[in-house]
């Protein structure tokens, strides 16, 4: 029983950690494209761990099946949403941030191939 609880706590903690990473990523990263990386990846694993914890907590076959389905749909919809957001940004000509732009305007567009 305590082992079970410990496992659940571990998975919830991992879930919280990766969701936190996603939040930090959204705040720290420079543009919409890089922020989308944060929103999809870390979030997907964060939600994944949390759902695994939920599945373990309920423990019956029906609930596990349903939580697994939940995970499947998150894994399909999450990248699709990120794709549509960045696609919208790209079609609005939102510039892609590169490391060049960090060097404070001094030398921009040094076009050596």
């Amino acid at each position: 029983m305590t082992l079970l609880t410990a496992t659940i706590v571990l998975f919830v903690a991992l879930g919280v950690f990766f969701t936190l990473v996603a939040a930090v990523g959204v705040l720290r990263l420079p543009d919409v494209y890089t922020r989308s990386h944060a929103a999809t990846k870390a979030d997907t694993l964060g939600a994944g761990f949390t759902i695994v914890a939920v599945g373990i907590y309920f423990g019956t076959t029906g609930e596990i099946l349903r939580t697994a389905l939940l995970l499947v749909f998150i894994y399909i919809t999450n990248p699709t949403a990120a794709h549509s957001i960045t696609r919208a940004a790209y079609s609005q000509d939102v510039e892609v941030w590169t490391t060049d732009k960090n060097d404070s305007a001094a030398e921009r567009g040094g076009d050596s191939p």
């Binding site: 950690f17 990766f18 990473v21 930090v24 990523g25 720290r28 990263l29 543009d31 494209y33 890089t34 989308s36 990386h37 944060a38 999809t40 990846k41 870390a42 997907t44 694993l45 994944g48 029906g62 099946l65 349903r66 389905l69 894994y75 399909i76 999450n78 990248p79 699709t80 990120a82 794709h83 960045t86 696609r87 940004a89 790209y90 079609s91 000509d93 939102v94 510039e95 892609v96 941030w97 590169t98 490391t99 060049d100 567009g109 040094g110 076009d111 050596s112 191939p113």
Partner: protein, 359 residues
């Protein structure tokens, strides 16, 4: 006047439809009635995606020879029959590509017009969904829809697709709701049946084939844990990058032409790219993807075809893996990259120089 077949050539797009025979007969008849009293009937089948293995090729060849048989049975002396299979070495992600092939064929052979089977469809997609007539009209090609009677009876492929949809819908309902009493089961079954009837020509891109579907499902058992493992790795790397004080990123945008075929495999590829190490699919046009990558290591995985290989194995089996990565094939070109990345990649990365957001 020149060649007879030039002045009176007719193209008939071939697809597995119940009215194929009547359409072919009508076309042969139309050519015979036409001035000059003869000409050629071109029976053309568009069959892309036979890159790997010959799976499905047999079916297409049988279909084409069946159509040819109908035509020769109906044809008099003045009509010549030609058959042709187009696009076998290409990957299509959009039904419109099929029509474009036909348009090219018409131009190439200088054909007079196109006679369309009213039940023509690009395998499993409903003919109402993609308007072949629009494409033909835009290309200024004369066409007519063969005046044949359409039957009410569903075709074999339609039954298969409907059955698969009904089974999946009902299975999903039972898995989610867990109904136990007869009323719930009966209403569920009826709903599944209605869904199947409505979506039989919408839900699938091509008719599921038991053998290949089972094979794909079996390989999926390997693919999904692999993908989950890649996702976990991606997250640990990502957490490191995001929590690192100096935020070590070097974003790039690349155009990648993925060597995967239909809509489903392109979607699987695009989504697995988005879910795995530091790469994100921004846009897709056909099988061409615009991929944003967060760091050079992620970009290298993409260039070497890490995801592509996995998806190809999933859909095409073992032989699918024997293909060099997009960069080696020349199917990857940078759109936006930093000066550092250009210097780092050296001459091998391609001939494009780093630039601003769009072309």
């Amino acid at each position: 006047m020149g060649n007879v077949s030039d002045t009176n050539g007719v193209l008939v797009p071939v697809s597995p439809s119940p009215t194929l025979e009547e359409t072919v007969e009508y076309a042969v008849d139309a050519v015979e009635r036409g001035d000059g009293g003869g000409g050629a009937v071109h029976l053309v089948l568009t069959a892309p995606g036979h890159h790997v293995g010959d799976e499905g090729l047999d079916r297409d060849e049988t279909l084409l020879s069946t159509a040819e048989r109908y035509a020769t049975e109906a044809a008099g002396s003045g009509v010549s029959i030609r058959t042709s299979m187009l696009g076998t070495d290409e990957y299509f992600a959009d039904p419109v590509n099929h029509f474009e092939l036909l348009v090219d064929y018409v131009a190439e052979h200088d054909l007079d017009r196109v006679i369309i089977d009213p039940d023509y469809s690009v395998d499993a997609t409903a003919h109402v969904l993609q308007n072949m007539e629009t494409v033909l009209a835009e290309s200024n090609i004369r066409y007519e829809v063969a005046p044949v009677s359409r039957s009410w009876r569903p075709t074999g492929p339609e039954l298969i697709r409907g059955g698969v949809i009904a089974a999946m819908a009902f299975g999903f309902y039972v898995a989610l709701g867990g109904p136990t009493y007869p009323f719930a089961l009966w209403t569920g079954a009826v709903t599944a049946l209605i869904t199947a009837v409505l979506l039989r020509n919408v839900a699938f891109e091509r008719t599921p084939h038991v053998g290949s579907a089972l094979a794909t499902l079996g390989r999926g058992v390997v693919f999904v844990p692999y993908l989950l493992w890649e996702i976990a790795k991606a997250n640990v790397q990502f957490a490191y990058v995001v929590l690192h004080p100096s935020l070590p990123i070097d974003p790039c945008l690349d155009r990648v032409d993925a060597a995967v075929g239909d809509g489903l495999s392109v979607t699987a590829f695009a989504n697995s790219v988005t879910l795995t190490p530091g790469t994100l699919t921004v846009d897709t046009v056909g099988s061409e993807l615009l991929v944003h990558s967060l760091a050079p290591s992620a970009r290298k995985d993409l260039a070497e075809g890490l995801h592509e290989r996995a998806v190809r194995i999933l859909f095409y089996g073992r032989e699918g893996a024997d293909l060099p990565g997009p960069l080696a094939r020349g199917d990857m070109e940078p759109v936006v990259q930093s000066a550092d990345a250009v210097a780092g990649a050296g001459a091998s990365a391609g001939d494009e120089s780093g630039g601003e957001a769009d072309d």
